[in-house]
Symmetry: C2
Subunit: 337 residues, 2 copies
Amino acid sequence: MSVLRPPADRTLDVVCIGNAIVDVLAQTDDAFLDRHGMAKGAMQLIDTEAALAIYGEMPPAIEVSGGSAANTAAGVTAFGGSAAFVGKVADDELGTVFGHDIRAAGVRFGTAALVGPEAARGTARCLILVTPDAQRTMNTYLGVAALVDGDDVDVDQLATARVVYCEGYLWDEPTAKDALRKAMDAARAAGTPVAFTLSDSFCVDRHRDEFLDLVDHSVDILFANEAEICSLYQVEDFEEAAELVSFHCAIACLTRSEHGSVILADGERIEVPAVATEVVDTTGAGDLYAAGFLAGWARNRSLVTSGEMASIAAGEVISHLGARPQADLVALLEASR
Amino acid sequence: MSVLRPPADRTLDVVCIGNAIVDVLAQTDDAFLDRHGMAKGAMQLIDTEAALAIYGEMPPAIEVSGGSAANTAAGVTAFGGSAAFVGKVADDELGTVFGHDIRAAGVRFGTAALVGPEAARGTARCLILVTPDAQRTMNTYLGVAALVDGDDVDVDQLATARVVYCEGYLWDEPTAKDALRKAMDAARAAGTPVAFTLSDSFCVDRHRDEFLDLVDHSVDILFANEAEICSLYQVEDFEEAAELVSFHCAIACLTRSEHGSVILADGERIEVPAVATEVVDTTGAGDLYAAGFLAGWARNRSLVTSGEMASIAAGEVISHLGARPQADLVALLEASR
């Protein structure tokens, strides 16, 4: 048995599917989180009322395009790879901002913006509080992002890709979940490997049985952090979770913050160190880790090199506010040699 | 004759009046400016078509509330002072962003958002290209900001203020110009000193005769950089311009980038050094200089101390992307002692 490789004769490195979100980032203190009953480091879904209440009390903020899988797509192109993104925005100002930023990052983004009455829900936004310890706590108003549907999934495009990357967060909404299922099924039919991120430990809590089934039957490359993989298998010990996941998918990339990551593939275990950096804002760390790994793997680089690329991309994005790369990742990779 | 002092028995430090703008900031190279025929370091007004064309070619951007006089108001509160802002946004997403950010900065902002057919022009945005030399080149789509009018000027509020700060840019639009004239006249009637910024050398070119008249008859405290003050008097030598302006208003604050600034008041000349910093983005340097000076002057601090506060605020804002302070300016001032 050999390590999973990308299919030959493909023209596109990665298709990413996820929530199309504009991040609203502000720096604040722990007391703000306590006052609003937020769990530090987690993502919670909020409704319009909560969004208005939290925003009303937030310090001055900046708006930056985000969305987990969208950040990953932007990270792939920052490494010189090719990427497409599938996700739903409304025909509004934040939708325009999202569409501009992802296209300007060189990502193909063909999903039509939503018009009509439902568009009044607005483009999704994530109210992110960054505390002095550089942790980010996320409050997501999903808006129309939840309405990405099967029709938005381009089966022909999936058949041209070396891998499709799916965001676990989509499982929270029935329409988006259908879109994700369609993408996974179409990928399988086309021989395109499926990568999946567990997204968030609370997200895993909400969908544990289905996620276990997905990892077992539909996912080839799994991304998870320590809390997520332990939550998935309901164990407390990381090593135990790592052993369990190794039986269930071809490649598992398990991230452990400043302790680096572990890549498990075909009985092999690779320890990847984190890149030392001054941490400003951890938003996007996991997304960019996945970007670096997939940008390498899709071009047939070794697991070790792909892991290094993952660490470099994650290290860059946590060194500044915002979840998309600001530096030339190719140059950072070359400088690391 | 003694130096101009703020009136006694006032409850508000500064009322700022200017264009309410959200900045759209991206880092780019000189070739981008050349390709679009932009004059580096300047501000040009653009129409909808140009805004779409430039935005369409801009790299991924971040959105941050801006507007010259609004940045100044946020700088005053960052020094613990009290400030109000008068300016027009539309009832749209960017208008919400602007209103949130300025209020979250502790600035009183009571101008009603524009609704109705004219609101379709949208909240103003400034497409700012930051080049590797940290210079910012600004392309402003004014939208509804141009529609701030006399009714938005609260005469009673002006009578409670220690100084009103007016943005020269408002002179470009007839409605906004009327609002500015009303504010200056009301301030004079209430005994509130008038501060004014020349804003931009091209703006001075467009309105030289009227600006000369304003400086002569309506302005007590003038803010200008080297290019602007030389343009006003159509001289090439800074010292010549400095001598000329000293005859025409009570206090003139002339900024010279890394060479610091010169404050001329009542025959006195104070040289203020710049604060050394790693320059990332010069957007807002002049706005925050004015904020620091006025925050000091309004509280009866000496011209020397007010100048130091100006340099500290300008130095902080050019050390990061975006035109509003991110650090605690009071702490920076204390640390400088």
